[in-house]
């Protein structure tokens, strides 16, 4: 028989995963909206974002109520603290997806360079972060941190690409800037996925790896350069 406390915690866990699912859907639809030029899809993303925001509020209220009435410790405490923080990362992913959908209306560019690839990778990173939350797998979490380096590189490629486009055709600058912002949004989404997975490491092991030197981007970059492909 599950206890009241276990039910409560399960409910919070489920809410978080549902938020994550909504954020994944949101990004997927935002990318379709951008790449297919489908304005209707942008509206769906806006609606999804509202649902994510509502779920975040519900989740915060459930966590606060559980903290104040049950004074949880150990695994339960870590679950609550990490889920609350990770839910904020999900909410930010929702916002970035909404921004991508909004900007998709304003860009008249047909060559998105590395953006489709970034979108695919960012989606996989969110899915992996959620899967690590549902079932902890440290190797999978660490893989998200190294994948983030690829997204950074693609973002950097996009910047050079856009710079060239502006040089070639300064009249398209505003469209090109939209594309730059979209690239930046995807780069931020990847960062949020990394943050979620780091919260999950704390949740599962009590190790706080958020600012651990060995997992800083510069270290990981150096390590990945030294690793034979």
């Amino acid at each position: 028989m599950t206890t009241y406390i276990e039910n409560n915690l399960e409910n919070i866990r489920s809410k978080f995963l549902l938020m994550g699912q909504f954020a994944t859907d949101s990004l997927q639809i935002a990318m379709e909206s951008l790449l297919e030029g489908d304005i209707q899809k942008a509206k769906i993303v806006r609606k999804k974002d509202e649902e994510i925001d509502n779920l975040e509020n519900e989740l915060s209220a459930s966590v606060t109520s559980h903290l104040s009435t049950h004074a949880p410790v150990a695994t339960d405490l870590r679950l609550l603290v990490s889920t609350m923080k990770a839910s904020h990362e999900i909410e930010r992913i929702g916002d970035e997806a909404k921004a991508i959908a909004r900007r998709s209306k304003n860009t008249a560019i047909h060559d998105f360079n590395k953006i489709p690839e970034m979108g695919e990778i960012a989606l996989d990173m969110i899915r992996d972060a959620l899967s690590v939350f549902a079932e902890f797998d440290e190797a999978k979490a660490k893989n998200i941190w190294t994948t983030d380096l690829e997204v950074d590189q693609l973002n950097s490629d996009n910047m050079s690409f856009c710079q060239d486009l502006v040089n070639q055709d300064p009249t398209s600058a505003s469209s090109i800037f939209e594309m730059l912002f979209i690239s930046k949004s995807l780069e931020r989404i990847a960062d949020h996925a990394v943050n979620i997975s780091k919260e999950v490491v704390f949740m599962a092991t009590s190790r706080d790896v958020r600012h651990a030197k060995e997992f800083k981007k510069s270290k990981l970059r150096k390590k990945s350069l030294n690793t034979p492909k």
Partner: protein
């Protein structure tokens, strides 16, 4: 320096052992209640003993100043307890002197049916201190350390029973402090107090740990988390886990500990 760094530095700085418990088995008649308990209690730190009723935590606490000697046919059948290198259960140890060094505060406040002043001065008189000025000074010092002086300084000659429950408990702490112990044992010191009085006693414990080694038995998990530096979890007479309190409450290594502190026991 950040708070975290300061805390780490403080943790590194003090690890002198005040009490060294070595492989202790304890029996009441034929009934064994402690099994091979090994534990070091650090100087000028607060150690909390936690565990379900009947797990042996109060028995262990009482072995630390031989209060169990008062119970017939109770004994340590194996192991020893060292305080500053001396086996305190050795026949040569003066029990009165030991209890002066290792004071005790009980679950229910137990002031003597005397005035506030006499309650604190009692131990000093037993020690043969007669000089009134010295006694007056000690009484004031002890009541001040117990955070009670301001509340009682104008009515020292009133009966201690006139004090509230929380004040009576702090008076008992002052009475313990008056004989200048090194170690203070507290057996559920707040279990009979309301939240305000509990808060004051907890605040006091946090102040006293600068000068004394304190061992507290408590059923209140949040209290253990708030006031102790280290926590030991007992179950069925065995020490299951002992670690820094932060570790015990954030990431205990044993499932039994986790289940107990999370209220999922049984």
């Amino acid at each position: 320096m950040t708070d975290l760094q300061k805390e780490k530095k403080k943790e590194k700085g003090s690890d002198k052992i005040a009490i060294n418990i070595q492989g202790v088995d304890f029996l009441y008649g034929e009934n064994q209640v402690l099994f091979d308990v090994n534990l070091d209690i650090l100087e000028k730190k607060v150690m909390a003993f936690i565990g379900p009723s009947g797990c042996g935590k109060s028995t262990l606490l009482r072995t630390l100043n031989r209060m169990n000697d008062l119970i017939e046919d109770s004994r340590i059948s194996k192991g020893k307890i060292l305080i500053q290198g001396t086996d305190i259960h050795d026949k040569s140890v003066d029990v009165i002197e030991l209890r002066k060094r290792v004071g005790m505060v009980f679950q229910k406040s137990n002031p003597f049916p005397k005035s506030i002043y006499q309650n604190v001065a009692y131990g000093l008189h037993i020690q043969g201190i007669k000089n009134k000025r010295v006694v007056d000074q000690k009484v004031e010092e002890s009541l001040t350390k117990a955070a009670l002086w301001e509340e009682v300084k104008d009515r020292l000659n009133e009966n201690a029973y006139g004090l509230s429950g929380g004040q009576q408990q702090r008076l008992c702490i002052a009475r313990t402090l008056a004989v200048e112990p090194e170690i203070i044992l507290m057996d559920e010191p707040c279990s009979a107090l309301d939240p305000v009085a509990t808060g004051r006693v907890e605040e006091l414990i946090l102040q006293l740990r600068e000068q004394y080694t304190i061992v507290v038995v408590t059923h209140n998990m949040q209290q253990a988390g708030r006031i102790s530096d280290e926590t030991a979890f007992f179950y069925l007479g065995k020490l299951i886990e002992h670690d820094k309190t932060k570790t015990i409450f954030l990431n205990p290594s044993k499932k039994q500990t986790e289940d107990y502190i999370s209220g999922k026991f049984g």
